[in-house]
Amino acid sequence: MREELIIAGFGGQGIMFTGTLLSQAAMIEGKFVTYFPSYGAEVRGGTANCCVTIDDTTIGSPVIINPDSLLILNKPSLDRFKPRLKKGGLLVLNSTLIEDEVKETDAKVVRLPATDIAERSGQIRVANIVALGKYLAIRKIVNQESVLQALEALLTGKKKELLGLNRKALITGYEYK
């Protein structure tokens, strides 16, 4: 089954890392996966987004037009990507930074105060991971264990010290009700 996910938020919210992490986890599970970042000049103080496609068979285009799911960390990204979500798709959003009411028609909407939760768990920067946890709890596209392994694969060298924090954030997100 193919899952097409767009992750979006402010530059600095770890959007790209979230996408790579998920891709790494999918790869660990032997799945087909493509990751495609938005890149370039628009980044300066702007928004960032990336596309992750996971499948059991060869993937064509890594560019996602109509995602199955959205993981949205800020308001401008909601405005930009919401109209593209597939009918009946999943929208996980960071309610700390998005106050908008989002209608449930045509989409399953999950609101989660990711930034708040992250701040409480000690590091505002891991809001992305919290949100990823929640998303994965709903869309069981990869196992938690694979994501934890992926974290170890990505956070090496100096970044190793961030491992615990990220692990905790992931699990918090997973378990957030």
Binding site: A41, E42, R44, G45, G46
Partner: protein, 247 residues
């Protein structure tokens, strides 16, 4: 009540796309203020570079054209020669002016083209996210000098002002910074002088401005200012490098 400090007319109200603390925004305003003060907005044509300032035409409230990477001096030459009574200036980064555009820079200067060059030296390729520039200091780690700039492999930071000063065609050359209010005001004076040289038909003027690029330097804004003051200024001394109008 009276407006003491506010956006000059020669700036549009468009938000800059620059990173927080970036020097480009300050210099944009200084150029706009000088143009306002000299009353030349309606006869000025600016040339935006390829670099972080590529969108400068959105920020300035006068005629501005694009130029391909490194070629603003040639484009400026084309404009100025055809319209000698207009004011023409280029705005260029260190990659644009001193790497790919070195030949055009030297030759426009040598021809003594009656143009003004505003040169933003942030010792890095900002727009392409952090590669080594011709002006990157020795030892500086960038995305293309991951072990620090090694003169044996990558040569030395180029002092553009000093290089151009050997050319007969150059009239006014200065180096400034925008790390502090005082230096910002000095920079404005130099920019004004440069435009005045052009208005007087005296030939080529260039103001080099040391500018901070916090994200690509991988530094906070205060650390960046420190870097400008401690490291950059000692290799790139501030001041007037050449002033033929005084001779």
């Amino acid at each position: 009540m009276k407006k003491l400090f506010s956006k000059p007319e020669s700036l549009t109200d468009t938000d800059h796309k620059y990173c927080p603390g970036c020097g480009h925004g300050i210099v944009h305003r200084l150029v706009a203020e000088v143009i306002d003060e000299l009353g030349i907005r309606e006869k000025t044509i600016g040339i935006a570079p390829v670099g972080c300032a590529v969108f400068a035409y959105d920020y300035w409230n006068f005629d501005v054209t694009e130029a391909s990477h490194g070629r603003p001096p040639a484009v400026a030459t084309g404009i100025k020669r055809f319209l000698p009574d207009r004011v023409v200036f280029t705005y260029q980064g260190d990659g644009d002016l001193a790497a790919i555009g070195m030949a055009e820079t030297i030759h426009a200067a040598n021809r003594g083209e009656n143009i003004t060059v505003i040169f933003i030296n942030n010792a890095i390729y900002g727009m392409t996210t952090g590669q080594m520039a011709p002006t990157s200091l020795l030892g500086m780690k960038t995305t293309t000098s991951p072990f620090g700039r090694d003169p044996k492999l990558a040569g030395y930071p180029i002092r553009v002002g000093e290089l151009l000063s050997t050319l007969e065609g150059t009239t006014f050359l200065a180096r400034c910074a925008v790390d502090s209010a005082k230096h910002v005001l000095d920079a404005k004076k130099a920019i004004k002088k440069a435009f005045e040289v052009q208005l007087a038909g005296k030939g080529y003027s260039m103001v080099e401005i040391l500018s901070q690029c916090p994200p690509n330097w991988k530094k906070s804004v205060p650390e960046s200012l420190e870097y400008v003051r401690k490291e950059m200024m000692s290799y790139f001394p501030l001041g007037v490098i050449k002033d033929k109008t005084k001779a």
